[in-house]
């Protein structure tokens, strides 16, 4: 993949993640202020909502997060989720 293509895939991944976050993180109107680096927990995501988000992400990207990745840091922002998903997709390839 060329660097341009790779960046395009990354931004596409983040857009899909944003969509899932909007649907499942339970942020309500606070979602409007979320950018890709916003701390979702500080924005109001509960632990329970984060679990729902994880399941939705596993469905959307057809993958399973290993135990070591199931931590608060990994799901703290759209950016950190994207990094985690990309690293899992690279392993699969």
């Amino acid at each position: 993949m060329s660097p341009t293509e790779s960046r395009a895939v990354q931004s596409q991944t983040k857009e899909r993640i944003r969509h899932i976050v909007r649907e499942h993180a339970g942020l309500g109107n606070a979602f409007d202020t979320v950018d890709s680096s916003t701390d979702l927990y500080r924005a109001g995501m509960t632990s329970y909502a984060s679990v729902v988000l994880m399941i939705a992400l596993e469905n959307e990207f057809d993958l399973e997060f290993p135990d070591a990745m199931l931590s608060r840091n990994v799901f703290a922002s759209v950016d950190s989720i994207a990094t985690a998903i990309e690293s899992l997709q690279q392993v699969e390839q």
């Binding site: 500080r42 995501m45 509960t46 632990s47 329970y48 679990v51 596993e58 135990d67 199931l70 608060r72």
Partner: protein, 398 residues
């Protein structure tokens, strides 16, 4: 983070003459503390004399640099004699650990730890709040900047549903929202001195058990420096320190209570056996059953302590924030709280009416009543609900 240095080995701490004295004093006053529902002031004074309130403070600040296993052993020894004293010691050490492990390079907190050592200050906590339905991870009260200050002062008012030994502590660690605009889950921990704040009890503490912890509700109001806010989010303090250390030390309190009940049942069976030399009393079989349950209980508690010790100060510290660890540490709390009640119940079955009486060497009423608090301190149902959600994504053993 400053890593507690280990120089003094456990036997020197928990076996020190001053600590053994504190244990004996806790035993001597346990019944009176329970009956009157009063603070175990004699035992806590003895713990101060033993410098035990600063065991968890790192050596570089003058403490003993005790690890989780040292603190757990001391908690267990105290709780075997007086569960209230054991619980107060445990809760204080939880607050110390939260400060030590999350104060980063805060000068204010470094100086504060030196004061804890010098003055043997007792720290209480206000993590509960009226209106959040028992969820420690949500706050209503918020840290609010003081107008007219140079931006270095904040204030808060919190209605805490319970503050254990609040009327007897020197300092208080309070969970609050990080600002008036912050989400209920965006919390910080603030340390204030009771001498510099208002704290009004909002109810009485007249309970079935754990009567000596004296844990009524309070309305607390304080103004303090921004420096008194621990420089870490409460979510990381909770995941890496407060929750695991609480569950491990509480489990040692409950193991202590159960061990006390077991010892009483064993003394009862031996007294029966002495009455009829050559025959094994029927209660001996029940005691053997209880003995095997106690072995399970100890193994459960010790394994959790070892796992935390291996992760807490290592490069694997991040593992404490994983869902798998959260599930395991919640399981410890649930299992240990249930095991303690079952053990006391079995001991009562063995001792019969001698156990049912409120006095005498075979009485297990106090132990049974104290043990019943275990399932309620952070309700087991809440932990089951949390684990039920976490197990939707966490695949155990994978």
């Amino acid at each position: 983070m400053s890593t507690p240095l280990r120089a003094i080995e456990l036997p020197e701490l928990a076996a020190s003459k001053a600590f053994r004295q504190a244990v004996d004093i806790a035993a001597e006053h346990a019944e009176d503390v329970d009956r009157q529902g009063r603070f175990p002031s004699e035992a806590v004074a003895a713990l101060r004399s033993a410098d035990a309130l600063s065991w968890g403070v790192p050596l570089e600040y003058g403490g003993a640099g005790a690890g989780i296993d040292d603190l757990a052993e001391a908690t267990f020894e105290l709780a075997r004699r007086c569960a209230a004293t054991g619980m107060i010691f445990a809760m204080h050490q939880i607050q110390v650990a939260s400060i030590v492990r999350h104060m980063a390079d805060s000068l204010w907190f470094r100086n504060y730890l030196k004061r804890v050592v010098r003055e043997q200050r007792l720290i209480a906590s206000a993590t509960s709040e009226v209106g959040v339905g028992g969820d420690m991870r949500r706050s209503i009260a918020a840290v609010t900047p003081v107008s007219n200050s140079a931006g270095d002062m904040v204030q808060f008012e919190k209605r805490a549903s319970t503050i254990s030994y609040g009327a007897y502590a020197d300092d208080l660690l309070t969970t609050l929202r990080s600002s008036p605009a912050a989400d209920s889950g965006d919390q910080v921990l603030v340390l204030t001195h009771f001498a510099d704040m208002e704290a009004k009890p909002s109810g009485a503490w007249d309970t079935l058990g754990m009567r000596g912890t004296c844990s009524p509700g309070f309305v607390v109001r304080a103004t303090c420096l921004t420096d008194q806010i621990l420089p870490a989010s409460f979510s990381s303090i909770a995941a890496e320190t407060m929750v695991p250390v609480s569950h491990i030390l509480w489990a040692h309190v409950w193991l202590g209570i159960a061990t006390d009940a077991f010892s009483r049942a064993q003394s009862f069976v031996r007294a029966q056996a002495r009455q009829n030399p050559g025959t094994t009393p029927p209660t001996a079989l029940r005691l053997s059953e209880l003995s095997s349950r106690m072995a399970e209980f100890r193994a459960l508690v010790h394994a959790a302590t070892q796992e935390y010790a291996s992760l807490a100060d290592s490069e694997r510290r991040a593992a404490l924030s994983t869902i798998g660890y959260a599930v395991r540490i919640n399981n410890l709390k649930i299992a240990a709280s249930e095991a303690a009640v079952e053990a006391c119940q079995s001991a009562l079955g063995i001792c019969g009416f001698a156990g049912y009486g409120n006095a005498g060497p075979y009485s297990v009423g106090r132990q049974l009543r104290d043990a019943h608090s275990a399932a309620l301190m952070i309700a087991n149902d809440r932990l089951h609900a949390t684990n039920a959600a976490l197990l939707l994504v966490y695949r155990e053993g994978k």
